[in-house]
Amino acid sequence: MAQSSVYSLNIVGYAIVPLPAGYSLMANPLSAGATNGAAEIGLTITGEQILTWNGKGFNAVLYDPTTIGWQDLSGNPSVPPSLPPGTGFFFFNPNAATNVTFVGQVVPNPSSTNKLSLPAGYSLVGSALPATVTNITSAPVSLPAITGMQVLAWTGSGYDSRLYDPTTIGWQDLNGNAKTAPTYTIGEGFFFFNPGSATTWPQSLP
């Protein structure tokens, strides 16, 4: 019996992202097809913490195999969160600086579009497409330019906030001083402030 060839249009790759000591704001740039944070990140460090945003605050889990493994910060058994591409999260590295290697499939597939939800207010996100750009609204990252939106990048100790308002001076800090558009680096997470009603962040492969 003749068999037809099966082709996969999936693009698979890896990305090495620096992981300094302490808190980093990250987003998984590749889909490992797994359902939990530990597998998505491909790295487990004793004492690590993963903080995800629930719209009002953070849900934190801690990994400590010397006690009960994954647990919340009160020591109750827990599971690591799902971290699909596009989901931003804080990662606490209790050790010296190292790297995280993300491995997996590029989302979206060629000829398809990924739509990430951007609710009103703050969301913790990252580019679902693995890319680095000098202007976060440029392709292929293509963050939608919404009047009044804010992009908050983590500096290691606080947020570098940039507000976009073409009705005044365009990109600016929160005190109205002109700034350049935020950059975006692969694997980076950031807080996005949506001043209007819920919308989406569509991304397509070039």
């Binding site: 009044g148 906030s161 929160l174 807080f191 209007g196």
Partner: protein, 195 residues
């Protein structure tokens, strides 16, 4: 060693107790401020910064009558309908991660540069002035806590206040003076007809 630990604990406690949260005290393109009498309002004109002042009012409960002036000011910008008191403003008594209710009061500069708390119960009556209070918003202040580093609360836009507000004239003609003016006009008409 024990003494050092006690000092460190006390230090952490005091830091936590007096930690102040951060809010972004400015409006957005979708929440402009206007002025004028009902039915005749217009967005605050561009190119006239400092013509209006704004003050932040806060309340733990959000109930009417419980809002107090938080001691934080803003002024209108050169852009139409916009004001700012700055980003990352600290508000006394509003800790990071703590949810409170808030309002913003606005008034014209001829009423003075400082907020008068009596305006909360009796709006000002200064002639040729404007005064108004926004709707009630609610949110948690930003800042670092043991539970993470919260982004600044945006008082306007997103999950904050989603509409602007109007500053109404502070000197409204009383009904008696309106009636007198009407009588005067009628008398003038009669006088002209007779002539």
């Amino acid at each position: 060693m024990k003494k050092l630990a006690v000092v460190l604990c006390l230090s952490a406690l005091t830091t936590g107790a007096f930690a102040q949260g951060f809010v972004n005290f400015f409006n957005t393109a979708g929440t402009l401020v206007s002025s004028g009498a009902a039915g005749n309002t217009a967005t605050l004109a561009a190119g006239n910064p400092g013509a209006y002042y704004f003050g932040l009012l806060t309340s733990a409960s959000g109930n009417a009558g419980t809002f107090t002036f938080a001691g934080v000011y803003a002024t209108n910008q050169t852009f139409a309908g916009r004001f700012t008191g700055g980003g990352g403003v600290t508000v006394a008594g509003w800790g990071p991660g703590v949810t409170m209710s808030y309002e913003v009061a606005g008034w014209s500069a001829n009423l003075g540069a400082t907020f008068n708390s009596s305006w909360l119960t009796t709006p000002p009556t200064t002639p040729n002035g404007f005064f108004g209070i926004s709707g009630i918003g609610s949110g948690q202040a930003g800042g670092s806590t043991a539970a993470g580093s919260f982004p600044n609360l945006n008082l306007f836009g997103g999950t904050g206040l989603t509409s602007g507000f109007n500053l109404s004239p502070t000197s409204v003609p009383e009904p008696t003076s309106m009636a007198l003016a009407g009588l005067g006009a009628a008398a003038l008409l009669i006088f002209r007809r007779r002539k």
